[in-house]
Amino acid sequence: MICILALVVFGILGIFSATHRKLALEAFECVFKKIRLQPCDSGLDKRLKSQITGKLMRKHPKMARFGYRHFEAVSLILTIIMIVSFVYSGLGIYNFVAYGNCNGESSQEACVYEGLGNAFKIDVDCESPLCQNEYCTCKEGSGCQEKEGDICKENCYGSVIK
């Protein structure tokens, strides 16, 4: 399980660092083997386990013991948390793209993506086919003269998501 985590973490770090890119590749090979029901024989899992345990042993011996004894379970939990958070992040992005709010249609709750401001939005005039697009959102007072629900029909001066 740690290989899946390592693949994601090192994959992201690998964008910036060649060392981590190599580890990401190793993690990928490991995951690829596991998918084919073959044992991961690169030793990456053992290396990560011993590195984490060794580091923890210096200052938090009890935590090191817990981590070592339940390494697979902890890895599994972290992997599940990671997958779940990916799913929710994906949903949030979808909602933000579709409705301008990551919490879903007509939600008034705070959305982390709002910080991005209008970075994903462009102005279109009413002749634009985008105005007929169901993903178009018309802001209040934007000049839309006709609106059915959240779908802009014509004379749209509002903004749509890119």
């Binding site: 053992k46 011993s50 590195q51 345990t53 060794g54 042993m57 210096r58 090191a64 013991r65 004894r69």
Partner: protein, 418 residues
């Protein structure tokens, strides 16, 4: 007392301190790597069976070649060339004395033990039906070259390492070569090599000894052993990597054909023929690793000055310390619990903990560098259905304090993780 003798004794005092044991702190000063700290902690290097650290003297000797006389030996007659030739000749003499060979012609420079063994396995011209006898605990370097000869119909038999009765039972008339390790890199135990050589000679078999682990750790005298061939590496005896020696009795070596041919290995050549050089040149084709050879000789001088008997005692003392502690923790030590039989090696397994994890944790928690895995003796581990072991291998620069830190960390692992 001559000035030379006085200087020698003064040097000895520096090495041995008051109690005629190695002055390890003084020795450590020769290793600049010990000034280095990783994550604010000092380095505890315990992987010397793989590669030893290099003393300043060896590095300086090598640098001297590159800085002052980086020329060809043997072929160029200019001043720099002559200087290089002198240095290489001196180095050969040093190595000759180091193993007590009869002649400098018996010392062939190679790049490591593996090359030496391959050179013999290929040069002996063994034929179908001949048998090569190796032990069950050989490093891949002393096993695979003989497996390769199976293509020629040469048979390969195995005897139990350290077991003279088993050796004798396998020693048939067809055995043309006995090739075995003097000391095992797996657990540090040694073969009764002189008896093996004697029995093999009585059977008219030749003996090739893999001295990679014995030459750096104890006095090896090829004439007393009466060994036919001995191969060892420089990188395991404080020397540079890419250096090694193949010793062979002169009369035998003269009869062997070289494995490689090229520059400096022939006296003359035409478009159709060539005349091979005399020993040792005929086995040293092409431009040699001069800096490495000079560094290797310097390492041999360093070890001679230190005294390999003292080194052996030092290693056994440290081994006893670790062995006692490990026994109290019920840790399984490969090769038995008698430290004096394992020199500077402690190969061990802890129940439920993978050896790679032990090595990784020690490395991460205290910069203790040990080796884990099968140590290139896959055949033995596979036969015993073991996944490997963690191996501590000590050398002259390891102190009792180092061993204390190792024991403390192992105790911590034992307490926390088992």
């Amino acid at each position: 007392m001559s000035r030379k003798r006085r200087r020698h004794l003064q040097g000895k005092l520096l090495w041995f301190g008051d109690q005629m044991s190695l002055n390890v702190e003084k020795i450590k000063e020769d290793f600049p790597i010990f000034l280095r700290k990783i994550h604010g902690k000092r380095i505890i290097y315990m992987d010397s069976a793989c590669v030893t650290l290099k003393p300043r003297q060896v590095v300086e000797a090598m640098n001297k070649y590159y800085e002052y006389f980086p020329a060809c030996a043997g072929r160029s007659s200019h001043k720099l060339g002559r200087e290089t030739s002198d240095q290489i000749n001196n180095s050969r003499k040093t190595l000759q004395r180091f193993i007590n060979a009869k002649s400098v012609n018996e010392v062939i420079f190679t790049k490591n033990t593996t090359e030496g063994i391959n050179l013999i396995s290929n040069s002996l011209k063994l034929k179908g039906g001949d048998v090569i006898l190796t032990s069950d605990k050989e490093h891949n370097s002393c096993l695979l070259p003989f497996q390769l000869l199976k293509r020629k119909g040469v048979r390969h038999e195995i005897f139990k390492f350290g077991n003279l009765d088993d050796f004798q039972s396998k020693l048939t008339k067809d055995v043309k070569l006995v090739a075995t390790a003097h000391t095992s890199n797996l657990d540090g135990t040694s073969n009764p090599i002189r008896n093996i050589i004697r029995l093999a000679h009585e059977n008219n078999s030749l003996v090739l000894v893999d001295g990679a682990q014995s030459v750096p750790h104890k006095k090896v005298d090829v004439r007393r052993m009466n060994v036919d061939f001995l191969a060892f590496s420089g990188h395991k005896m404080l020397g540079p990597s890419g250096t090694g020696v193949l010793y062979g009795k002169q009369d035998l070596m003269e009869r062997l054909n070289p494995l490689f041919l090229g520059g400096d290995a022939v006296k003359n050549s035409t478009y159709n023929n060539y005349e091979i050089e005399e020993l040792p040149k005929k086995f040293e084709a092409g431009l040699q690793n001069y800096a490495g050879i000079i560094g290797l000789a310097e390492a041999a001088r360093y070890l001679t000055k230190m005294g390999r008997d003292n080194l052996e005692k030092h290693l056994i003392n440290l081994n006893e310390l670790i062995t006692d502690a490990f026994q109290n923790l019920d840790i399984e030590i490969l090769g038995g619990t008698k430290a004096e039989k394992r020199g500077g090696i402690i190969s061990f397994n802890m129940k439920k903990i993978n050896p790679h994890e032990i090595a990784g944790i020690l490395n991460e928690s205290s910069n203790i560098m040990i080796r884990s895995g099968m140590h290139c003796v896959h055949s033995w581990f596979n036969a015993h259905e073991l996944k490997g072991s963690a191996r501590v291998s000590l050398y002259a620069y390891n102190t009792r304090e180092d061993c204390g830190v190792l024991i403390k960390e192992i105790m911590k692992i034992h307490k926390l993780l088992l």
